[in-house]
Symmetry: D2
């Protein structure tokens, strides 16, 4: 069986300027995310890409060869080129999986796919986050502990301005009392999209095995070994009886 | 009670150049749609707007005063100014209702809200369309005959490249055998969006009372007498205990 | 306009034997719930019914005249007669609204409508519950504060073994860190069903105006002024062309 | 990897009394269904069971060893023992997959899981049925032709009185103009349920490879290699901090 081709994208900015982040992720958050997924998904072939590369490392060739793209961005949302965003968008609609992480909720690619603002409430404090499974038979929840405990994490709270998820897998609570739909599945075009909120840069979230467990499940879920041949790139004329066998 | 403020937008192009359309809709499709809604919804105050007007008739003042906007466009999708599209988009996210009609499936505002291509299969032939209710207790289906018979209509067929509707109200069949999700509800931001596929310009769809029945129900459903004060325009900081009564 | 006919059902058992409950609800929880709804919904005509009445107060005549039934039960679930449960079930499928409260999650009528166990985790402690709106434009959330604060309440936590709600309106958090889908809409047959978890008997939940606000919104949402004439009581033969106008 | 354990249940009544059915399915419809699934799913171990066997062939031992159960019944719905129905129900809630076929829409197990009447409109005539995919990226639609053509089949038409499916995969049209939600996914408890309407006993539906394709996809989808350990058999007390690591 062909391996799952995964591209882990990270903007890799905080790591350059913030010593605390660099200490946690000396070779970048993208590298840690790639390792975390690879540890549980040996059938994946994982590459990374970053903002500062030509075309952000996301050339047409790379994207065409990618089954599932993961996205971590924050400070550099505006620096992502609109042409590249349009290219990713088209690839998702054509069947590529997309995993959007944490502050990626306000990335160009996620808001374009959602059609909404994807705004939320936030607080960097000392909240503990608990990630609860509300869909035990969903593939992304498979084997995940109930709950996942993140000893310290940034609070993300409702109202989260997204369309109603096609499947809601996780809901988080925070010490301060807020709740958040932290694991949300969407189908857009022929692609599967998963948003997962854990992953603030100043906490060792991407060193926690349970998070790797969720990410690996999400990659496997978002990957389609066979993409539907139904053509969606444009509306097409269908003469009467076009589907009849001749 | 304050009347529902409805703005009926029509691109009003086919009516200028196609004698058959002009005969059916001598004062424009928008005028016919406005009449059809008004006939069943006396509590609505209805204005119309068209592509050729300054700002397409959709100034900030008009949109701010609009509770529900209906949209019929086709040939002129590309001529709709991006600034106006962005303005409508923001108004929907802030709670304005939007009813997208027929060929509006490929309008800029609809594809932006959906995040997908909204492509489909089509055929201008002599199909009969039957519009079936699959959600009998939905407000938009209230009092609507099962099925609505459109003696002749353009075929729109699956696959329709939209996100899964939050509520599926109508499914159509065509003489040629195709099916189509013809009445679809979406919530986007704080706004309610309804797509309804009947309405090809060369057929007297907007003279048929059952269509008016659906449109009036849809306007009433999309209208919110009271918009949620929850702020979604940007993510906001929430200090611990912000919701405590002092 | 015809008033909305509401029947508030309470098993009225704790009130008889538990002094603390009787002190909070001297004339029964059902009476308090009826008052709370009536205070915000003057267009409703509200009666109450209890377990100890003949046919639990839910004769065919009463149910046939009821637009929306609210249900609070706990200790007496098993004492509810199966014939009455079947009668309520049929009425819901025919279009009556049903609001199931708190411990009603394990009532016969709710589990029959859901098809699942409706089990959950619980704790009677000193948790504070916060009820968060995750669907700001839903009619049941209209005007409801974000969040509702219940200073003390029984904890109900996930996993809550219900089908995925057709619409998820509220999610609660508890001091202990649990989350719960506390406001859930379902359509079953032609009836609308709302489950709302606040309402433990030892706390003054049904004296809190925000709870009345939600309940009144829920009654208005569950009520249908006009029930679809589509016949669902049995499968029926449909000769070819049955829908043609003659 | 452990094989998928599939039990194909057929009431096997029409085959005994109706020569036309027996000619199509000389060793019973269940045998044909088993063959059809096995042809595409070599990793499955398939057994059959019928109404006339002790406990209808569905002893606790058989069900406990079954990953996915398929169900074809019609004339004998009332002869299925309530004890066995309750046993199947509990197994589904505990994670067993269930595929309900054609006239199984009114079986005891399906209506119990749905909570509704599952009634519909029907006609035995000479309709052609077209089965259209409306969810191209769903695992059950993988590789399925668009549309599947059933040259002759019984008409099943809307309104189909089921809860809104968690995922709608197929919609059918019939020559007579009716439409039907013919492929519907539901999650109930920890089990996955798929309803698929093709399969009338007087047509060679279960000799058609595309139908086997759908059934094999459905079995693979409904099967969970690992069932969530979250306990749902009853509500359980959760002391504060029960999830803390000690």
């Amino acid at each position: 069986m062909r391996p799952i081709e995964v591209t882990v994208w990270g903007e890799n900015l905080h790591e350059q300027t913030d010593a605390a982040v660099r200490e946690l992720y000396p070779d970048g958050m993208h590298a840690a995310i790639a390792r975390l997924i690879g540890a549980r998904l040996p059938e994946a072939r994982i590459r990374t890409a970053t903002l500062d590369q030509p075309e952000h490392g996301l050339t047409s060739a790379v994207l065409d060869a990618t089954d599932v793209l993961t996205w971590w961005g924050h400070r550099g949302h505006d620096r992502v080129d609109n042409t590249i965003v349009a290219r990713i968008h088209q690839r998702v609609l054509d069947g590529m999986g997309l995993i959007v992480l944490h502050s990626g909720h306000e990335s160009k690619i996620f808001t374009r796919l959602m059609g909404t603002r994807c705004s939320l409430r936030w607080r960097e404090g000392d909240d503990r986050e608990l990630v609860w499974t509300v869909a035990p038979s969903h593939p992304i929840a498979r084997g995940v502990p109930q709950p996942i405990v993140l000893p310290r994490h940034e609070m993300y709270g409702e109202f989260f301005d997204i369309p109603v998820p096609d499947e809601l897998v996780f809901v988080s609570s925070f010490s301060g009392g807020e709740v958040f739909r932290s694991g949300c599945c969407f189908v857009r075009g022929k692609g599967r999209v998963f948003y997962f909120s854990p992953g603030h840069e100043t906490f060792p979230i991407y060193h926690q095995p349970e998070i790797g467990h969720v990410l690996a499940n999400a990659v496997a879920w978002a990957h389609q070994a066979e993409i539907s041949p139904i053509m969606t790139r444009r509306s097409q004329h269908a003469p009467a009886g076009w589907f009849e066998k001749t």
